[in-house]
C-alpha cells in the first residue's frame, strides 16, 4: 500500500509580539507525517511544541511558512473553510480535557457529529460505538464533573474521533493524569487512531508516553533538533 502524506509543514515560523518584545516560538519547522502514523513531539517547556500543534490544527496562523493537510494548503484558507476543515478533518485532545461541562459524555461525543449535520440515528450509533470503544458504555449519561480524569480524557478522545478525522492532535494528553492512567489513555488513543486509520500528532514532555508513538520528533528553541523511529 502506498504511503499517503497526511500532514506537511514547510518552514513554519511563529513570532509572538508582547508589546515591544518579540518572541520567536517557531524558527522554520518542516515536518511530514504519513497516514496511519502516530508521531510524538517532545521537548522542554517553551520549545514550541504546542505552537506547532496549534498551527497544524489551524487554531492559529503562522507568521510565515505553510501547512498542508491531505495535500491541501490550509495556511491561507478563509475562516469559514478553516471551520469546515476542523469539523471534518481534525480532532483535538487537550491536556485539561476541555469537555463542555453542561453536556453528558454521550452529548459531548455527539456534539461534533451534530454540527457536521450527521442524521440522528447515525449520530447516536457512532457516539455510542465510540464510547463503547473507549470503555465508557456505562458512563454515557454522566456529566464531566461526575467522571474521573482518565474517563474525561477518554471521552475527549472519543469526541476527537467522532467525525472520523484524518488527523488527531493531542496536546499533553497525559498532563493532568497520573502515570498509570496516562499510559492507558495514550495506548487507547494510539489503538483508536490505528483502528480509524488516522494520523496522530501528540505533544508530550514525558518520554515514556512518547515511546508508544511510531516516531518521535525532538524540539528545542523552536526547531526540530532530532528524530527517532520506534519499533513498536
Amino acid at each position: 500500500m502506498e504511503k499517503q502524506e497526511s500532514v506537511r509543514t514547510e518552514e513554519l515560523v511563529k513570532i509572538y509580539r508582547l508589546g515591544k518584545v518579540e518572541i520567536q516560538a517557531l524558527r522554520g519547522v518542516s515536518i511530514s507525517c504519513i497516514r496511519g502514523e502516530v508521531v510524538a513531539v517532545v521537548g522542554p517547556s517553551g520549545s514550541g511544541k504546542t505552537t506547532l500543534l496549534n498551527l497544524i490544527g489551524t487554531l492559529d496562523k503562522p507568521t510565515s511558512g505553510r501547512v498542508f493537510i491531505d495535500g491541501q494548503e490550509v495556511t491561507k484558507l478563509p475562516e469559514k473553510e478553516l471551520t469546515k476543515l476542523r469539523r471534518k478533518k481534525i480532532g483535538f485532545v487537550f491536556q485539561f480535557f476541555n469537555l463542555i461541562p453542561v453536556l453528558t459524555a454521550f452529548e459531548n461525543v455527539e456534539l461534533p457529529l451534530l454540527i457536521a449535520g450527521v442524521p440522528k440515528e447515525e449520530r447516536e450509533k457512532r457516539a455510542r460505538e465510540l464510547l463503547e470503544l473507549v470503555g465508557l458504555a456505562d458512563r454515557m449519561n454522566h456529566k464531566p464533573d461526575e467522571l474521573s480524569g482518565g474517563e474525561q480524557q477518554r471521552v475527549a478522545i472519543a469526541r476527537a474521533l467522532a467525525n472520523k478525522p484524518s488527523l488527531l492532535l493531542a496536546d499533553e494528553p497525559t498532563g493532568d493524569l497520573d502515570s498509570e492512567t496516562g499510559m492507558k489513555v495514550v495506548t487507547l488513543m494510539r489503538d483508536m487512531v490505528k483502528h480509524e486509520h488516522a494520523t496522530a500528532i501528540m505533544v508530550t514532555h514525558d518520554m515514556e508516553v512518547a515511546k508508544i508513538a511510531d516516531r518521535i520528533l525532538k524540539m528545542r528553541d523552536g526547531k526540530i533538533v532530532g528524530e527517532e523511529k520506534m519499533t513498536n
Binding site: D60, T83, F92
Partner: protein, 716 residues
C-alpha cells in the same frame, strides 16, 4: 299585659296618641298576642323568627292593612341571635386554635415516639414488614390515642359543664329574675366534639406514619446512614436543576395573602379615602402579581426545559445548550427572569385591566343613560312632545319616564322593609326606546316583557335582589306604603339589571334598588298627577345621534327648560380619558421592559465572558462563529420567551381573580379582556431587544482567537 314585662311606664291614652303622632279620631290601641311555647325553639332562632313572621302575616291578612303587626319578641330574638352569633364565632376561633395546638402537640409527641422507636421499626422492616404495615402500626396507635382521648375529653367536658360551669351560669342569669333557667348540652355538640377529636388524632398521626413509611431499613437501623441521606437530600436541594419549593411556597403565600386583600377591597373602599384606596390597591395588586411571578421563578428550570424542548425541534444543539447553560447559571438567570416576568406581567395587567375597565365604563354609561339620547325635563312638558320627538327622522322610539315616588316596600307585616324609588313607564314604548339588549330580566323571552305591568293597576316590577331580601317570588304580593297608606301589589316582574334604572341581583344592595310600574298604576297612586322626569330616545341604525340630539334641542329646547345628553358623547369622553391613562402607563412600563431585557442581556454578556474558554472548545471542534453567536442568542430568546409567557400567565391569573372578585358584588360585570395588540407589541419588543442586544454583545467576545480562548480557560 305579660307578667314578665318589666319597666312599664303607664301614661294616658291622649299622651300616647300625641307621642305616636296620631290624630284624635285615630286609635292607639294595642293588642298583645301571646303565642304557644312550642313556637319558640331556642336552638333554632332563625326558624323561630320565620314561624313568627308567618303567624304575623296570617294575623295581618285577617285584620287588614290598616293595622300594624309588630313582632316584639321576634325583634328581641333577632338581637339576641346577632349577639350570640358573634360570640359563637369567637368561641369557634378559640376552639379551632385549641384543636390546632392539640394537633401540633400530638404530631410532635408521635414524632418523638417514633424517633425513639426508630430501631424497632428498622428491625421490623429487616424482618420483612412492608412499608404500609409500619405505616399502619403508627397510624393505629394514633387512632387508639384519638379514641381514648376523645372519650375522656367528652366525659371531662360533660362533668365540667354540668357540675361546674352550668351552676355558675344559671346563678348569674337568675340573679335578676324569678324565672327558672335550665341549661342543657346539645347531643349533636357531643357527637361533633367526639368526631373532631378523633379526626384530629388521625390527621396528626399521618405525618409521623408517613415519616416512618419513607425510611429504608438501613436508615431506620443506622443513625449515620440517616445523616448521610440527609446530607444527600440537602445537596440535591442545591442543584440548580431542581425546582425551588421553598421559593414556590413563599410565592403562593404572598399570592394567597394578597388575594384575601383583593376580596377585602370593597371594605377598604368603604372605610378609607381615595389616597389610601389607591395606595392599598397598587400595593396589593403589585404584591399579588409578585407572588405569582415568584412561583414561576421557583419553577424556572421546568419552564426553561420545556421551552428548550420546543426549540430543539428547530435548533437541537442551540436549544439544548441554551437550556443547560441557563439552568447552570441559574443564580444569575433567576433574578433576571424574575425582573423580566414581573415587568411583563405588570404591563399586561395594567393593559388588560385598563381595557376591561374602559369597556366596563362604557357599559356603566349605557346603564346610566339607558338610551342613545336622554332628555332631562326641568319643567313639565305636554304629552304630545313624545310624538313630536318620535316624528323626527332617524328616531327609532321615544319613551317617557315619570318622576320617582319614594315608597316603603316590604313583606306583609313589614318585618323587612326598604325605602325605594318607583318610576312609571310607558310599557308599550319602553322596550324599543331603551338598551333592552343590556337588560337582564327574569322573564320568559317574549316580545315585550314590560307589558306585564299593564295586567292590572297593582302590578310592580322589582329588583331580583329586593325579591330575595323580602323572600318573594314572581306573582307574590308585596306591601307598598305610599303617602302613609298601605296596599298590596302584585310582583309581575323580577329584573336583575336594566339600563336607565338601578336594579340589582344582590340581596345586599336591595335598599338602593328601584321599581317600575305602568303609567296607569302611577296615576292611580298619585291620584291622577303625571309628571315626567326624562324622555329616553333610541336612534335608528345609521343615523347620526348628535344631529338628532340637536334637532330635539331645536324642537323643544327653545320652549322648555330641558337638557339633552347623548350616550355616545359620554362614552367618547370616557374612552379618551382611559386611552390617555393607558398610553401613559404603557410608555412607563415599556421602558421598564426594555430595561429588564437589557439587564437580562447584560447578565448574558457576563456569562459570555466567563464562557470564553467554552467558546474556544466549540471553535476548536468546528463550530462556526455564527453558530456560537446563535447559541447565545437562543439562550437570550429562550429566557425572554419564558419571561414573556410566565408574565402573560401571571397577569392573566391576577386579572381573572380581580374580575371574578369584582363581579361577585357588581351588577355591571367586568369583562376579562386580553389586549392582543399589546401582547404582540410586547412579544416583538422582548424578542427583538433580546436578539439584537445579545448579537451585539456577543459578537466581540466571539471573535477572540481560539488559542487565546482556550488559554483563557487555563487562567480561570
Amino acid at each position: 299585659m305579660p307578667l314578665n314585662m318589666r319597666n312599664v311606664i303607664f301614661m294616658s291614652k291622649a299622651t300616647l296618641q300625641k307621642m305616636l303622632g296620631l290624630y284624635d279620631n285615630q286609635s292607639a290601641n294595642f293588642v298583645f298576642v301571646q303565642l304557644k311555647e312550642d313556637v319558640f325553639d331556642y336552638n333554632d332562632i332563625e326558624g323561630t323568627i320565620n314561624k313568627l313572621v308567618s303567624i304575623g302575616s296570617e294575623i295581618q291578612l285577617k285584620i287588614g292593612l290598616d293595622y300594624n303587626v309588630v313582632l316584639v319578641k321576634g325583634r328581641v330574638f333577632e338581637r339576641v341571635s346577632a349577639s350570640l352569633e358573634s360570640q359563637r364565632i369567637m368561641l369557634n376561633i378559640f376552639v379551632f386554635i385549641t384543636v390546632l395546638m392539640a394537633g401540633v402537640l400530638i404530631v410532635s409527641t408521635m414524632l418523638m415516639n417514633v424517633n425513639e422507636r426508630i430501631r424497632e421499626f428498622g428491625i421490623l422492616r429487616s424482618l420483612g414488614f412492608a412499608r404500609y404495615q409500619i405505616f399502619l402500626i403508627v397510624l393505629t396507635e394514633s387512632i387508639i390515642i384519638g379514641l381514648v382521648g376523645s372519650v375522656i375529653g367528652l366525659y371531662v367536658g360533660i362533668i365540667l359543664g354540668s357540675k361546674i360551669i352550668t351552676p355558675i351560669v344559671v346563678a348569674r342569669l337568675t340573679q335578676d329574675t324569678t324565672e327558672i333557667i335550665t341549661i342543657s348540652i346539645n347531643p349533636i355538640t357531643l357527637e361533633y366534639g367526639f368526631l373532631i377529636g378523633f379526626l384530629v388524632c388521625i390527621g396528626a398521626g399521618l405525618f409521623p406514619a408517613y415519616y416512618i413509611y419513607n425510611l429504608t431499613p438501613i436508615e431506620a437501623l443506622s443513625a449515620s446512614a440517616r445523616k448521610t441521606i440527609l446530607v444527600e437530600k440537602h445537596l440535591k436541594k442545591l442543584s440548580p436543576e431542581r425546582v425551588s419549593w421553598s421559593l414556590f411556597w413563599s410565592g403562593l403565600f404572598i399570592f394567597a395573602t394578597m388575594s384575601l386583600m383583593v376580596v377585602l377591597f370593597p371594605l377598604i373602599r368603604f372605610y378609607f379615602g381615595q389616597s389610601i384606596i389607591t395606595l392599598v390597591t397598587f400595593l396589593s395588586l403589585g404584591l399579588l402579581l409578585v407572588g405569582i411571578t415568584v412561583m414561576f421563578t421557583a419553577i424556572l428550570p421546568v419552564v426553561v426545559r420545556l421551552l428548550a424542548r420546543l426549540f430543539s425541534i428547530f435548533a437541537k444543539i442551540e436549544g439544548s445548550l441554551a437550556a443547560r447553560n441557563l439552568i447552570k447559571y441559574k443564580r444569575r438567570t433567576t433574578l433576571t427572569f424574575f425582573m423580566l416576568t414581573t415587568s411583563i406581567a405588570f404591563i399586561f395587567m395594567i393593559g388588560s385591566l385598563t381595557q376591561s375597565y374602559a369597556i366596563n365604563a362604557q357599559m356603566a354609561i349605557r346603564y346610566e343613560t339607558g338610551s342613545d339620547i336622554v332628555i332631562y325635563l326641568n319643567e313639565p312638558v305636554p304629552e304630545s312632545i313624545i310624538s313630536n320627538i318620535t316624528a323626527i327622522s332617524g328616531v327609532k322610539a321615544a319613551t317617557p319616564i315619570t318622576a320617582p315616588l319614594t315608597v316603603k316596600v316590604g313583606d306583609l307585616i313589614l318585618w323587612k322593609q326598604y325605602t325605594i324609588k318607583v318610576y312609571g313607564i310607558n310599557a308599550t314604548t319602553f322596550m324599543s326606546a331603551v338598551y333592552a339588549e343590556d337588560a337582564i330580566i327574569d322573564w320568559p323571552k317574549s316580545e315585550n316583557p314590560f307589558m306585564a305591568l299593564t295586567q292590572n293597576n297593582e302590578s310592580i316590577a322589582i329588583a331580583t335582589g329586593l325579591a330575595q331580601a323580602l323572600k318573594l317570588s314572581e306573582m307574590d304580593t308585596i306591601r307598598v306604603e305610599i303617602y302613609g297608606k298601605s296596599k298590596l301589589m302584585n310582583v309581575s316582574m323580577l329584573i336583575s339589571a336594566l339600563p336607565a334604572f338601578s336594579f340589582t341581583k344582590f340581596e345586599q344592595k336591595a335598599a338602593r334598588s328601584e321599581a317600575l310600574i305602568s303609567l296607569e298604576t302611577y296615576k292611580n297612586l298619585t291620584r291622577g298627577i303625571l309628571t315626567y322626569e326624562r324622555i329616553l330616545v333610541r336612534v335608528k341604525e345609521g343615523f347620526d345621534v348628535e344631529s338628532i340630539a340637536n334637532s330635539i334641542n331645536n324642537l323643544i329646547g327653545t320652549d322648555y327648560d330641558i337638557q339633552v345628553i347623548t350616550t355616545q358623547e359620554l362614552i367618547e369622553m370616557a374612552q379618551e380619558s382611559y386611552s390617555q391613562v393607558l398610553q401613559l402607563f404603557m410608555t412607563l412600563l415599556s421602558f421598564g421592559i426594555i430595561i429588564s431585557v437589557l439587564g437580562h442581556v447584560t447578565s448574558l454578556l457576563t456569562t459570555v465572558r466567563e464562557r470564553i474558554w467554552e467558546i474556544g472548545i466549540f471553535r476548536s471542534i468546528g463550530v462556526s462563529r455564527e453558530q456560537v453567536i446563535l447559541i447565545f442568542i437562543v439562550e437570550a430568546i429562550i429566557l425572554s420567551i419564558a419571561g414573556y409567557i410566565c408574565g402573560l400567565l401571571s397577569s392573566l391569573i391576577v386579572v381573572t381573580e380581580i374580575t371574578y372578585t369584582n363581579n361577585l358584588m357588581s351588577d355591571i360585570p367586568l369583562v376579562l379582556t386580553i389586549p392582543i395588540d399589546l401582547a404582540s407589541v410586547i412579544f416583538a419588543l422582548v424578542i427583538g431587544v433580546s436578539a439584537i442586544a445579545s448579537y451585539i454583545f456577543t459578537k466581540k467576545p466571539i471573535s477572540i482567537n481560539i488559542v487565546d480562548a482556550l488559554r483563557y480557560g487555563l487562567r480561570e
